[in-house]
Amino acid sequence: MSQRAQEIQGILRALVSNTPDVEGAAVVSADGLVVASVLPAGTDEDRVSAMAAALLSLGERSAGELQRGTLEQVYVKGASGYIILMQAGAECVLEVIAGGAAKLGMVLLDSKRAAQDLARNL
């Protein structure tokens, strides 16, 4: 694994291990290919990555159509937790999954910092 790949993987590991209730994270290219991931066992990272790219694309378009400005985050809440997507550099997306009991403010804050770190490495 290249040094850059190790750094990206390290940023994801730190996010998952240091933020309570964050259960997984992945970096996905804008066209839906996985770049790096720390996802729960059994997760199909290819499918998850493709869906993340589609969600981000829809979010960008929706924000534009509804004059909400440049997309910053896509937020999905299910009965068992959250999915958060945010841009990480010009061509990638950070996807974070968190449990239902997560402190959302903490998750968003740490995710934003991770996205900024990733942007410097991508």
């Binding site: 804008a30 066209d31 839906g32 290919l33 990555s49 493709a50 869906m51 589609a54 694309s57």
Partner: protein, 176 residues
């Protein structure tokens, strides 16, 4: 939105399916002046959408991403579709993933028409043999999206038929 004095307009959703780079986005863009394509690097990653007025009918065309990894997106977009337009690159074997999409949730198959895209312009008239277990298309239409002979009027007639437009023919028909 219906304005005062306008006749009510029937609307229906058709999904536009087919393998990657078959011409789905191009087809929707040719049919709808206001088409939206959500793409990255020229490949659809989320969906296409276009509205087409055909007589008293408004057809909502929803194009699905063709690349294999977008299977869950395709399945989501196929929900509540009344039928499908299958864009088939001439000379290729019909894509089994596309065929599976025509039977959402293992339920009854969606009615569909096939648009054989003669991209090279040198098509030999080769048709379309549906994969095993799938009923033949309602209509098989040949056209070229990169040339003038796109045959889009015939395709719109077939699309209207899928949505049960009054007076639309039901029999299988080949238009070449």
């Amino acid at each position: 939105m219906q304005r005062a004095g306008e006749e009510p307009v029937a609307a229906g959703k058709l999904i536009v399916v087919g393998p990657g780079e078959a011409g789905k986005s191009t087809l929707i863009a040719r049919l709808s002046a206001d088409a939206v394509n959500l793409a990255v690097n020229g490949r659809t990653v989320a969906m296409d959408h276009g509205l087409v007025r055909h007589g008293a009918l408004t057809i909502s065309l929803v194009g699905v991403p063709g690349q294999a990894r977008f299977a869950p997106v395709r399945e989501a977009l196929a929900q509540r579709a009344a039928g499908a337009i299958w864009v088939h690159p001439e000379g290729e074997v019909p894509d089994p993933h596309t065929a599976a999409l025509l039977c959402p949730g293992g339920g009854p198959p969606l009615p569909y028409v096939v648009y054989v895209n003669q991209r090279s312009g040198s098509g030999d008239g080769t048709g379309f043999a549906p994969p095993e277990g799938l009923a033949p298309p309602r209509r098989l239409i040949h056209g070229s999206l990169v040339e003038r002979q796109a045959n889009l009027a015939a395709l719109l007639d077939a699309a209207a038929e899928l949505l049960g437009a009054p007076g639309a023919p039901r029999e299988e028909e080949v238009i070449g």
